[in-house]
Every structure is written in C-alpha cells, then in structure tokens.
C-alpha cells in the first residue's frame, strides 16, 4: 500500500538526534553527503559509515524501519552497480567471458556507488525521521533568511513547504478513502490496458482536487481568523538555541570529515 512509504516521514521521539538544532542538522547532513563523495578508499568510507551507524543507534529508530527505507532504492543500486561492473575497464582483469570483462576497478566502483547511494538516502532519511516538519521548515526559513536582501519572500516559501508537508499524509488517506468509495461502486483500478487504467483515475482525482481546493480555502480562512499576516514581525514560541550537544555533534562531524582527508592521504586510493 502507498501508506508504507517511509521516506520523508517523521517518527516522533526524544533522542539526542531528535533534539539537535534542526539548522545544524541540515548543515551537517549536507556536509556529510558532500563528504561521502570525497572518500577514496575503504578506510575513509568506513569512517563515514561508522558515523552514520552511530547516529542511527543514537536516534533509537528501529533498524527494521531503516532497512525498509532502503528497499525502494534497491533497484537503482542494482542497476548502477551492474553498469559499473560491465563498463568500467580499469584495473586488473578478474574475469573475462565473451565480450564482458570484469575488472577490479569495476567492482570497486560498484561497491563504492552502492555505499554512497545508500548512505545518501539514509542520511537524508535520518533528517526527516528525526525532525518534525514544522521544525524543518522553520530551520530552512532561518538558513535562507539572508536571501531576503534579494527580495525573495523566504517566509512564504517556508510556510508553503510546511503546509505541503503537513498535508501529504492527509492526501494519502483521502486517496485511500476515495478509492474505497469508488471500488464499492464497482470501479476497477487493477485491470485493463493503460488507457483504461488512466481513465479509471478520473473518479479519484476529481473528488481529490475538489476536496483539496475546499480545504485550501478553509485553511486560509482559519489562518486569517487567527491573525496570520505573513512573516513580518512574527515571533516564535520555540527559539532555536545551540546547546552543548549541538557543539559536540558539530565537532564530531567536522573531525570525521577531516579524517577522510587524512585517511585518503595515508592509504592508497582504490577508485
């Protein structure tokens, strides 16, 4: 079911990772993702994986769930690895069969690509798993607030993002309800050719759009009734302040990233 998708979901909790300053979390995870691509040998990428593993453990999110979040990208990983193994001709030849030549270079690149994609998805999942959507957009708004000097309305964009994120589960639930109601009247979404299946979506999308527009109006009224008038002069209930744990997280991450360059220097590069 569509409900089982976990990417972008938030799992409430009270772990150290949950309580980190969301601005810092965004910056660190961004730095982490960039750093993965600088790893040149198994020692340095091992260090990065260790860092990710510790973060996952600290967040207390079940490993089963983490495994589930990687499932959707399995195909992408398989295809890219396969292409690397077939087309990369660097290094020693391991196996030669007809036109296909498998080399150490190809295998190493495949392994590295796999690790990189998995770490990238996992790291960004960790951000949404442990940060509530409101905190996340709040943090984005603050990180990008310097753009105000270019006359970009950062607040509105952040507010739109919050609302969009907030309504994803609602929309999924609604699609579920509409599909059930139409199935009760004999609608068939599972058989027939492409054109027929496309047409079968009309009875889902029309009620969905109409309900969404109605809800958008209602939400706008409700916000105005509570005196919402944009970002100007708005104060916040939760002030973001860096704490000791934030400085520690910053230190550990920067040290690990520095570690990559040290390890890259002392051990031979494999890709």
């Amino acid at each position: 079911m569509i409900k089982d998708i976990t990417i972008g979901q938030y799992f409430p909790g009270n772990s150290v990772i949950h309580r980190l300053d969301p601005r810092l979390k965004i910056v660190l995870i961004f730095a982490y993702i960039v750093a993965i691509f600088f790893c040149k040998n198994f020692q340095s990428i091992g260090l990065m994986l260790l860092l990710l593993f510790v973060t996952v453990l600290l967040s207390r999110i079940s490993l089963k769930l983490i495994g589930k979040s990687l499932k959707p990208i399995l195909i992408i990983i398989l295809i890219t690895s396969l292409l690397q193994i077939i087309y990369n001709k660097n290094g020693e030849v391991l196996l030669e069969y007809w036109k296909i030549k498998i080399t150490t270079g190809g295998v190493y690149t495949a392994v590295f690509t796999t690790i990189r994609i998995a770490a990238l998805v996992l790291a960004s999942s960790m951000l949404t798993y442990t940060t509530s959507p409101t905190m996340l957009t709040d943090a984005i708004e603050r990180l990008f607030s310097p753009l105000k000097i270019f006359n970009i309305n950062v607040h509105s964009i952040a507010m739109m993002m919050t609302i969009a994120l907030r309504f994803i589960p609602t929309l999924i639930e609604e699609v579920d309800k509409i599909m059930s109601a139409q199935k009760s009247r004999g609608a068939d979404f599972e058989s027939g050719n492409l054109a027929k299946r496309g047409k079968a979506l009309i009875p889902i999308f029309i009620p969905l759009f109409i309900n969404s527009f109605r809800r958008a109006y209602e939400l706008a009224f409700a916000m105005e009734c509570r005196c919402y008038r944009g970002g100007e002069g708005r104060t916040r209930l939760r002030q973001m302040k860096m704490a000791l744990r934030d400085y520690l997280a910053f230190l550990i991450t920067t040290a690990s990233i520095a570690g990559i360059f040290v390890l890259n220097h002392f051990f031979a590069a494999v890709i």
Binding site: K3, D4, F11, E174, K177, I178, S180, A181, Q182, K183, S184, R185, G186, A187, D188, E190, I202, P203, I206, P207, I210, N211
Partner: protein, 287 residues
Amino acid sequence: MSLIKTENLSYVYSQGSPFQVTALDNISITIEKGEFIGIIGHTGSGKSTLVQHLNGILKPTSGKVFFEGTDIFKDRQTTKNVRFKVGLCFQYPEYQLFENTVYDDIAFGPKNMGLSKDEIDEYVLEAASFVGIKKELLKKSPFELSGGEKRRAAIAGVIAMKPEVLILDEPTAGLDPKGRKRIERMIADYRQATESTVIIVSHSMEDIARTVGKVLVMNHGKAEMFAGVDEVFSKIERLPEIGLDVPSITRIMLRLRSLGYDVRTDIYTVEQAKDELLFLLKERGVL
C-alpha cells in the same frame, strides 16, 4: 444458509509499524436474508472498518467473510461480484461524487456492472425516485447540491446497483431532524419495496432503535452484543459503560423507576412509554 457470515474476523491497521491499531478483534456474526440490522458503537469502535469487510474493500488480517456460503476473497472475480451484491455507501459523500451531472454520477455503478443504456436509465431513475431526487436535480452538477442532497445522491449511486444487501455508514450524520427523518423513511420504503437486507451504522441508539430489528453493539473492536432491539435494551445499564447514550425516553423511565415507580425500563420509543405510563396510571386508579 446465512447471507453474510464472518468467522473470527480481525483487522489491524498499519501492521508492524509504530502506528499499529487493532480495529476489529475476533468478530463472528451471521446475518440472514431480509434482516434489518443496526450497528452502533462509540467513535473508533470499528464500525466503518467492519462494514468495509462485508463487501470486500478491506481484506481481513485474519479470519474469513462469507457471502451466501462462499469466501468473498476466494478470487478477484468473486470479490468484484460481491461489490455489486453488497452495496456500501460510505460515511461522507464528498468522497465519491465526481461526474458532470447527478444523473451520470448515479449511473457510475450500473455502468461498471456492464448494463445496457436502457437498463442504466431505468435503474438510475428508480434509484433517484427512491431517495427523492427530482428530475431537475439530475441535470445539476453534484457539487452544486446541498449537504443533504449530496448525501441522498450518494445513496442513490449505491441503490442504483440494485444490491441484495444495502449498507449505509452513518447515513444521517450531520443532517437536521427533517433530513434525518427523510432518510429514515426512505430506507424503510426501500426495504419494503425491494425486500433487501439493510444494515445501518450509527452513533446513536435513539436513531436506530425505532427502526431496526437487530442491533450489533461494537466496543473497542469487539462485538459486545448482537441481539434483537428488546434484548439489547434489557441490558440498558451496560450502554453508558461502553460510551453510548441511552435514548432520552429510556432515561425518563429509568429515573421514574429510581423514584420508586414500578415501570418497565426496556422502552425506547415515545409510543411504548405512553402505553406504559397510561397502564401505570390506570393501575393506581388515577384514570
């Protein structure tokens, strides 16, 4: 052979995730042809979840559902056919209206059944007249209707498939007393004319006690009682415990009894109460 039968039916939402909810817990009930059944229970007791199993929209986590003796999940064709035989009208009509005109919307079910144009026309007009939708309304867009009219159009969309069993999930929720009466009368007429089995889901004992023959009381996903209206009312003290209101007329009788008058308390209509009070007055020689 019973018409609908559930066997140890259980259903869990989002199984295996942190948000897991057991909505139905081991429900075994039997419904006979022609019965008029009310399902009541507090919010979240599993009423809507239960009725969605009866026409194969939800698949049991464990247990079975039978229609005329066949497992409705035997294969896909069986499930599809059951949806035409067991018509389910959902709690809120805004989830199903979508066509350009009310007429086309009511025709959606019959069209899916693969009927001819003439048959569709006949079925639609008949369903519309059952729910009291006038000819002019049929040409309107379903989104221009009032809430009560929308509800009736949605019900017509299900009735138009001429199902053997009609299930209505809270058909009167959010309507004024007149709209409620109208739908109640419409259901009664429909039952009389077609002799079909009807199941109504409701929050309120008051609403359904007057009309139905048998009541299924749901409590936290379990079938608390499944018996005739009189029998359910004879255990009236249980109702508040499971979050249900006792009809006001019954409350009056309970209060009279606690004040020392010897009246029956398994009473749920004003008519019954009148008879009982007249009887009491005669007995005491007042009349």
